[in-house]
């Protein structure tokens, strides 16, 4: 049976992990490759490097980080953040990324999804959607139920997440990474209603993100959230919540997970 995937997100700035840097027992605390190594041992299914650097030099720093992780970790590796065009995608993929995640660039230039899917295959193209159910200023019918935001959640895209996910799929996206802006960083649980709405609307995998605080939250999003995968950052950076413990918990709930 196909397993539900647990994905760890490394927020990286200038080659260092910048979110939740309290990993005990890790000598090289800010080193993405060291963190990726630990996750690999714990049984993580996939790794996302989210590059939050915004400088011109960032592409080179990003390539270094990707290569450092990809040389020793043989798991699917996604790179997101600052992938604006074909050159950014090519640099990330040549450095060792298997997939690139497009967010703002996909909204401003939806054709980029198709061009990258043609060049690398749909499996290499993730469209990341940041959306809010609470912040929707456009509640009047037929306004969006789940308002999509661009530019790290600062600019309303005036689109509905379900409708945008459908379009992204039609344009060649291989997966949707759906982040709840309302829940991000709150540890209050994933937005299961929004995740299910998007997951049921498309025939490609949906990765839920934003709000993971407890193991129970993962069980919920795989259950009533219909998520195919769940992504989290800070919950795993604290050593007391290991990936292997999470998988044991989910297996006991009869949720299929990889425990090789």
């Amino acid at each position: 049976m196909l397993s539900k995937r647990i994905i760890a997100c490394l927020d990286v700035r200038d080659g260092k992990v910048v979110k939740g840097v309290q990993f005990e027992g890790l000598r090289d605390a800010g080193d993405p490759a060291a963190l990726a190594r630990r996750y690999n041992v714990e049984g993580i299914d996939e790794i996302v490097i989210l590059d939050v650097t915004a400088t011109i030099e960032s592409r080179q720093a990003r390539a270094h980080t990707i290569a450092a992780v990809a040389t020793e970790i043989f798991l699917p590796l996604t790179v997101g953040g600052g992938i604006r065009n074909e050159d950014d995608a090519a640099a990330a993929i040549e450095a060792g990324a298997d997939k690139v995640s497009l967010n703002t660039a996909a909204l401003t230039d939806p054709g980029l999804i198709t061009r990258l899917a043609k060049k690398y295959g749909s499996q290499a193209v993730i469209v990341a959607i940041d959306a809010s159910s609470g912040r929707a200023g456009l509640q009047s019918c037929p306004g969006p139920r789940y308002e999509v935001f661009a530019r790290s959640g600062t600019a309303a895209a005036k689109r509905d997440a379900v409708e945008w996910a459908r379009e992204a799929t039609d344009r060649g996206a291989g997966e949707i990474l759906l982040t709840s802006i309302d829940r991000d960083g709150t540890k209050a649980g994933f937005d299961c209603e929004m995740t299910a709405a998007v997951s049921d609307a498309v025939n490609i995998p949906v990765i839920a993100s934003g709000g993971a605080g407890t193991f129970e939250h993962f069980a919920e999003v795989f259950g009533r959230g219909h998520a195919d995968a769940a992504l989290a950052a800070s919950i795993f950076h604290f050593k007391e919540r290991s990936v292997s413990e999470l998988k044991e918990f989910l297996a006991q709930r009869n949720i299929p997970v990889r425990q090789n």
Partner: protein
């Protein structure tokens, strides 16, 4: 030396890195004539079966000659599908025909989750388990039920050549092995330690 055949179907970086990690020397031949010095050949591939059109008659002849000489051949993902006669995905494009059978669309049987009855998504993306119907060199030391990473919409039928099978609505060949010809539908270069073990098993028969 391992020849990694680059016919423009996606990106070979991760296969190259995985081969380096297990100590294999690999290069990408630029013309079919260079294949002669290969001790083993890998045909990778992601995406559409139509992309194998780029494997021209010259490539097919060169690969076929090497296979007849006993050189190990490994197809990965679309590379495995290419070992068969063809695929529903691109009916006008012939596979190598080394193995009997045609690849089919996982979605055409409208697969359903057995427990929830919800339709299964196609493409099949993620970690799924493999069953081992017989002993094979490729799967030596790999546990029945091990999980490996898949990403595909089309799959090869289960025939006598199957060395591993996987169930996703239907049962398909996750790995094949016949004499010196092998293939994996999953991505061993992205399947953690199990994947590296399978690649090492293949490499062990490259002399």
């Amino acid at each position: 030396m391992i020849a990694l055949v680059d016919y423009g179907a996606g990106n070979l970086t991760s296969v190259r890195k995985a081969l380096a990690a297990i100590g294999a020397d690999a290069w990408t031949p630029s013309v079919p004539g260079e294949l002669g010095r290969a001790h083993g050949i890998i045909v990778p591939g992601v995406g559409h079966f139509d992309s194998t059109r780029a494997l021209t008659d010259e490539w097919r002849t060169a690969i076929g000659t090497m296979v007849n000489d006993g050189i190990p051949l490994l197809g990965i993902c679309v590379g495995l599908q290419w070992l068969f006669e063809g695929s529903e995905e691109a009916p006008g494009v012939n596979g190598s025909g080394i193995l009997a059978g045609r690849c089919f669309n996982l979605g055409s049987s409208r697969p359903q989750d057995l427990e929830t009855s919800r339709p299964l998504k196609v493409p099949h993306v993620g970690w799924n388990s493999i069953a081992l119907p017989r002993r094979s060199r490729l799967m030596a030391g790999v546990k029945d039920g091990s999980q490996v990473y898949f990403t595909h919409s089309y799959a090869a039928p289960v025939t006598d050549d199957a060395a591993a099978t996987t169930e996703y609505g239907v049962t398909f060949s996750a790995a094949v092995e016949r004499d010196n010809v092998s293939g994996v539908q999953f991505h061993p270069e992205k399947s953690g330690d199990v994947g590296l073990k399978i690649l090492s098993n293949w490499l062990a028969h490259v002399v």
